[in-house]
């Protein structure tokens, strides 16, 4: 049950909470501060420092997963539909967001060896390749993977063999395909094993680059990009290509992204002072951030790379991870707020059909070209053979008529046959050479000439054979990169598995829609209470009104609590102010005492006359005995800053 006719859909946000760990359990009886209502998709957060009477904060999401949730549940319900869309040619993105140590990596990667504990990424790999092997045989696929990380605003290729000293990559844009990373390594993967290998290589590169892994990973974003191209004959008979892109994003720890101060909303980074003068540019950019000016380097690399996923052409799932321990209350609240805001981002996903930059098309054309070359070569050798041989070979004719369709399968045989022929020809030439040598009637130099010629012919023959072999190898290499659907439909079990998956899918879909309906019901409930104005009986009215009253009362309590919060804050600041005032008064009295007792009245008057209040700097100042150039300078400066 997808939402109505919309071309846009919002970012799906799911929240997952990890269990308390042993250390946290032993820390105290307080227990978890996070409560989850799986059916409603709600997270209820308790402030451990607040009195029990304070209402708890409730957030609603597309789905929530508590400490008992399984990796498979999350995948089937929240990720599977997204991967399906990627296979259908949409762009998809999965973000993991949360404080370091809340299980981002567990959710994304999990334990690879244990099928129950495999995370989103291995499950997605499995999903993609299983889908390909079960699809119809007229579909051709090309799967590519790239792996990069963004560390300190530099894009690094994790698949580059000399990752250690490689230069950071640059972001570029092309009119046809948008933002891309220039010179990013991209590996064609033919199986789960291969793509896992790619991931491992990248993970190792990441680990090597960072001596302190935890520190590093909490500061760097990792992006694993999978491109699935699929070609299929359309109703018009031409082959159409759909390209789905999947971004798997492990964001840096949320505590690094938005350090929150006491007030919760303000970014701490903003208050921090940059020490080095080289950061002057940041300060100036912050000042110049207006619409009518140009500010160099404003966007972050991550934002530019993922601009399609947040408010663009993509389906996006965000997995926010939480820690349930009381000491993480602030971080957890921030994560929830952030996730809550992400729900409102609207995307306009569209199928990428026949894009100009599809590699599959290029591959197909290259294969066709190689095949044509091979054919041409074969045909030429035959011609030559005829020349040399004088009499044609019987089989030639039908081989040519066999045509191109059969070639595809017969290619290998053909090549072997050809090799045989080469050997035969070579033998024949050898024989002829022998003949010439043995021919005693010929003149010596004539003999030499003929032998030379034969020698040359053999050389040519050998060269040609080599070229053909190379071509064949290239052709085979190219073709093996393409995956063809339907190769594995041999057994019955596949069908059953497919059905099973379908059912699982259905169940997941139903759970989701149930939750959606529940959420809607909750909203409706509120509305109906207000709307129902005609009551059949007085009793009903009372009932309804009581219900409404209760609801409103709860709301009132919420607001009261908020007011109380604000009041407390004010009281606190007032007390602080009072204290300061007292201190100041005391000091003032003290000073007066000194003045009265130690300073002769005439001196005092002199000083008083020289004192002036400088409103600019908010302090009293001595007027110099002679007006100095310094103060004049100050005045002119005031004029300038006031000029506008």
């Amino acid at each position: 049950v997808m939402s109505k006719n919309k071309s846009s859909e919002s970012v799906k946000v799911v929240v997952r909470c990890r269990p308390l760990n042993r250390k946290e359990e032993s820390n105290g009886p307080a227990g978890s501060i996070v409560q989850m209502d799986l059916r409603l998709g709600q997270v209820i957060l308790r402030n451990p420092r607040a009195p029990v009477s304070e209402p708890q904060k409730t957030f609603t999401f597309d789905a929530v997963y508590d400490a008992n949730s399984k990796q498979g549940d999350l995948y089937d319900e929240s990720v599977r539909p997204l991967i399906d869309s990627v296979l259908a040619g949409f762009n998809g993105t999965i973000f993991a967001y949360g404080q370091t140590g809340t299980g981002k990596t567990y959710t994304m990667q999990g334990a690879w060896m244990d099928p129950q504990k495999r995370g989103v990424i291995p499950n997605a790999f499995d999903h993609i390749f299983t889908h390909i092997s079960r699809s119809q045989s007229d579909k051709q696929y090309l799967v590519r993977a790239s792996y990069l990380e963004i560390y300190l605003e530099e894009v690094l290729d994790l698949l580059d063999p000399n990752h250690g000293n490689a230069r950071p990559l640059e972001l570029r844009e092309s009119p046809e395909s948008g933002v891309y990373v220039r010179d990013l390594t991209s590996c064609v993967c033919k199986s789960i094993k291969e793509i896992e290998e790619v991931m491992n290589v990248g993970n190792q590169a990441r680990a090597v680059a960072a001596t302190d892994m935890n520190e590093h990973s909490s500061r760097s974003h990792a992006l694993f990009l999978i491109t699935v191209e699929c070609s299929q004959p359309g109703p018009d008979g031409r082959k159409h290509i759909r390209v789905g892109r999947l971004n798997l994003v492990d964001l840096a720890g949320s505590e690094r992204q938005a350090k929150t101060g006491v007030q919760g909303e303000r970014l701490k980074e903003a208050a921090k002072i940059n020490l080095s003068l080289s950061a002057l540019g940041n300060v100036i950019s912050a000042l110049a951030d207006g619409r009518s000016g140009h500010v160099p380097y404003r966007d972050s690399k991550l934002t530019r790379l993922l601009q399609d996923s947040l408010g663009g052409n993509a389906k996006t799932v965000m997995v926010a991870t939480l820690g349930p321990a009381p000491q993480h209350y602030d971080e957890t609240l921030t994560t929830l707020r952030y996730a809550n805001r992400a729900k409102n981002i609207q995307n306009q996903p569209r199928v990428n059909e026949d894009p100009k930059d599809a590699l599959l098309r290029e591959f197909q054309m290259e294969i066709a070209r190689l095949r044509a070359q091979l054919h041409h070569r074969k045909w030429r050798t035959k011609q030559k053979k005829e020349q040399v041989d004088g009499e044609g070979w019987e089989r030639d004719g039908d081989e040519e008529t066999e045509g191109e369709e059969e070639d595809e399968e017969d290619e290998e045989e053909g090549v072997e046959k050809e090799a045989e022929e080469y050997v035969k020809q070579e033998q024949r030439l050898e024989r002829e050479k022998q003949d010439i040598r043995e021919d005693q009637f010929m003149l010596a130099d004539e003999k030499q000439r003929l032998l030379g010629e034969k020698e040359r012919m053999m050389g040519v023959l050998r060269k040609e054979q080599e070229a053909t072999e190379q071509l064949t190898a290239k052709y085979k290499a190219m073709e093996s990169k393409l995956l063809v659907g339907g190769k594995n439909i041999i057994d019955h079990t596949n069908e059953q598995q497919k059905m099973l998956e379908g059912k699982r899918h259905e169940i997941a879909e139903q759970t989701r829609s149930e939750r959606e309906i529940q959420q809607q019901m909750l909203v409706r409930d509120e509305e109906t209470v207000e709307l129902r104005e005609t009551f059949t009986s007085l009793q009903q009215e009372v009932e309804a009104k009581t219900k409404k009253l209760k609801k409103l009362y709860a709301k009132l309590q919420c607001i009261k609590a908020e007011i109380q919060d604000v009041n407390d804050e004010h009281v606190r600041s007032r007390q602080e102010l009072e204290q300061t005032q007292n201190e100041l008064t005391r000091e003032l009295k003290f000073k007066y005492l000194i003045i009265e007792n130690f300073i002769p009245p005439e001196e005092k008057n002199k000083i008083m006359n020289r004192l002036t209040f400088d409103p600019e700097e908010d302090q009293w100042k001595f007027q110099p005995l002679v007006p100095s150039i310094f103060t004049m300078f100050l005045k002119t400066k005031c004029c300038i800053s006031g000029y506008e």
Partner: protein
């Protein structure tokens, strides 16, 4: 140190040199798992120095146990900003007691910085405050002024890190006033703190002393800029950024490209505030200083070596960025003056023009005055080139075509420069932004052009630069940009159509237009309608459905586009009455859409008040007109 034997003193000096070396040099090579090893070692040495100094003091204290020992000051922490800075109190900085306090204070300062570096902030603050207390007893002199400023810089940073922005402001502002006062009252090159612990033969030169002192103050200004920014006082923050840049230049402590880019960015702040003289000054300085970075390596050189290729890339990119800042300058100047000069229907208001020209003379004088008092960039050798670059473009708002054209040409020149680097292939968004600015430059210039024929040609230039690109872009990835461009193209064609009509009406006395003009008019009219329609289509779902609900950011553009399309259809001239009727029918349909949408979404009405009013009227009137047309065609 008079009382200490020179051997003892030499040992102290060696320890200090060692500690400095550990802090600055060795610490870079510390292993990851023991990141502060050298710093801890340095801390130990500093502590030893502190003890030695104390023991010297005890020895001396017997001789002159006066003020110090009896001093039982209240130990409340000194807080800056409320108190008169360290002038005119305690013993003078160059007295033996003052020197002792300064040396002890310096050790406290280094200990404080050391603790801050090793992330022990509270301990660091305590040491720094101790330093403040020691200095409090002294008056400022050339021996200790450097320490006075350094310690306040450090405390300022520390407070800012704890969100105590006002406290930070207090420390830093006091540092500033101490600096200014010192320069005024003394001004001799002050002792650097490292010199407290060096033997005679290693004293710094006057030049080096000044350099270090000025650098400390540059940092004060830079920190103040950030503090003001965090306090939301952007104007002051900008002034301090400006001063920081100026000092970097004066003291020759900058990397040309980085400096130039910062100055260019600062110009954008001034421009948005309408301070064109300051903006121009920043930009001119940026251009001149960026030239100091040297020639761009040739393509051939770039292919040979990787460093050269990187340098080439960097230089080209940053110079292009500066050019883009210049474009914005020219554009804003033109647009601002246009706003000033246009009347209610967007045409040049000649009365206003005269008035402003009269006022101009006064302004020019003021400019001269302003220039003299403004904070100017430049070292001896760059000063003149900056000034001569400034002369190439006015910073006063242009008041007629000639003046506007001069600004336009400068802007266009920078457009060419910027496009050389930001090419379509690789920098789509940037390239298009530059084109859009170029188009906006033309648009602003057209406002001043009195000759309608030439004005029309300017608009044609805009079409020529935007049209081919709009069709080349991937509709998915560049949805927003394409929408902007479609809307702009539609408006340009509309504008051209109006101009052609005015021209034709002027030329012929009769009401009727000749065939050629009609064709031209219709062509422009349908081109405009076509682009509005393309814009509207881009809002539809993939299946081609019109959205029921328009997103907020496209609400007004979408309804305005509808309204304009309606208007365009009703203006198309066609010879056959049936075609005319068909156009009117289409027109009515679009007007109806606007009205119906606003009925269904009452919140939309506020966004398109005038358009809605007119549409409602037209929905009432058009059917009447259509009936009339039918009637008249029947009569014929």
């Amino acid at each position: 140190m008079a009382s200490a034997s020179s051997d003892e003193w030499r040992a102290v000096c060696d320890k200090f040199t060692n500690a400095q070396n550990l802090t600055v040099v060795e610490s870079r090579n510390d292993p990851e798992n023991d990141p502060f090893r050298s710093k801890y070692k340095a801390r130990e040495l500093l502590r030893e120095i502190y003890c030695t100094l104390k023991s010297f003091e005890a020895g001396e204290g017997e001789e002159e146990s006066g003020a110090e020992s009896s001093e039982q000051r209240p130990t409340e922490p000194p807080v800056d900003g409320q108190r008169e800075d360290g002038y005119g109190q305690g013993f003078s900085g160059d007295s033996p007691a003052g020197l002792r306090a300064a040396k002890l204070g310096a050790v406290e300062y280094y200990l404080g910085v050391n603790h801050v570096d090793t992330e022990e902030l509270s301990a660091g603050q305590e040491h720094l405050m101790n330093c403040m207390k020691l200095l409090e007893r002294c008056s400022v002199s050339s021996e200790n002024v450097s320490l006075f400023i350094h310690v306040r810089n450090q405390l300022g940073i520390l407070s800012a890190g704890w969100d105590e922005t006002e406290t930070a402001q207090g420390f830093l502002e006091t540092a500033e006033s101490i600096y200014q006062r010192y320069l005024k009252e003394d001004g001799s090159p002050p002792t650097d703190m490292t010199e407290y612990f060096t033997t005679e033969e290693n004293m710094l030169t006057h030049q080096e002393r000044t350099k270090r002192f000025e650098l400390a103050y540059t940092h004060t200004m830079y920190y103040l800029a950030q503090v003001y920014k965090n306090l939301g006082e952007t104007e002051r923050a900008a002034t301090y950024c400006h001063s920081t840049l100026q000092r970097q230049l004066q003291l020759n402590q900058f990397s040309p490209m980085e400096w130039a880019l910062n100055a260019a960015t600062l110009s954008q702040y001034y421009i948005t505030k309408g301070l064109y003289m300051e903006g121009r000054h920043c930009l001119s300085a940026a251009t001149v200083i960026s030239d100091l970075a040297g020639e761009v390596p040739s393509e051939a050189a770039a292919q040979e070596s990787e460093t050269e290729s990187e340098r080439r890339e960097q230089l080209r990119q940053k110079r292009a960025e500066i050019a883009r800042c210049w474009i914005k300058y020219c554009l804003n100047v033109l647009q601002d003056s246009k706003k000033l000069l246009e009347d209610s229907i967007g045409e040049l208001d000649t009365d206003r023009q005269e008035e402003l020209k009269m006022a101009r003379r006064r302004e020019e004088e003021e400019e001269e005055k302003g220039r003299k008092s403004a904070l100017l960039f430049g070292s001896e050798d760059t000063f003149d080139s900056i000034a001569s670059l400034e002369e190439k473009v006015h910073c006063l708002l242009p008041l007629d075509f000639t003046e506007a054209r001069a600004v336009f040409l400068v802007g266009q020149n920078y457009v060419t420069q910027a496009k050389e680097y930001f090419q379509m292939d690789g920098y789509v968004t940037d390239h298009i932004e530059i084109l859009q600015d170029h188009s906006a430059l033309f648009r602003a210039l057209a406002f001043y052009e009195e000759d309608l024929e030439r004005r029309c040609k300017m608009h044609k230039r805009r079409v020529d630069m935007l049209e081919p690109i709009c069709s080349d872009l991937n509709a998915q990835y560049y949805l927003m940009i394409r929408r902007q461009m479609m809307f702009e193209l539609a408006e340009i064609y509309n504008e051209m159509m109006d101009l052609k009509l005015t021209l034709a009406n002027r030329q012929s006395d009769t009401e009727s237009l000749d065939n050629h003009t009609i064709n031209k008019f219709n062509h422009l009219c349908s081109a405009s309608a076509k682009y509005f329609q393309m814009f509207l289509d881009s809002l539809c779902s993939p299946e081609g459905k019109i959205p029921e609900h328009l997103e907020e950011e496209v609400l007004r553009p979408a309804l305005v586009a509808r309204f304009r399309v309606a208007r365009l259809y009703s203006r198309l001239i066609s010879p056959s009455p049936s075609a005319q009727l068909e156009n009117l029918d289409k027109s009515l349909e679009h007007y109806k859409y606007v009205v119906q949408y606003c009925e269904a979404h009452p919140e939309a009405a506020a966004a398109v008040e005038t358009e809605l009013e007119l549409s409602t009227e037209m929905v009432g009137l058009l059917p009447l007109k259509m009936n009339l047309n039918i009637l008249s065609s029947k009569c014929i």
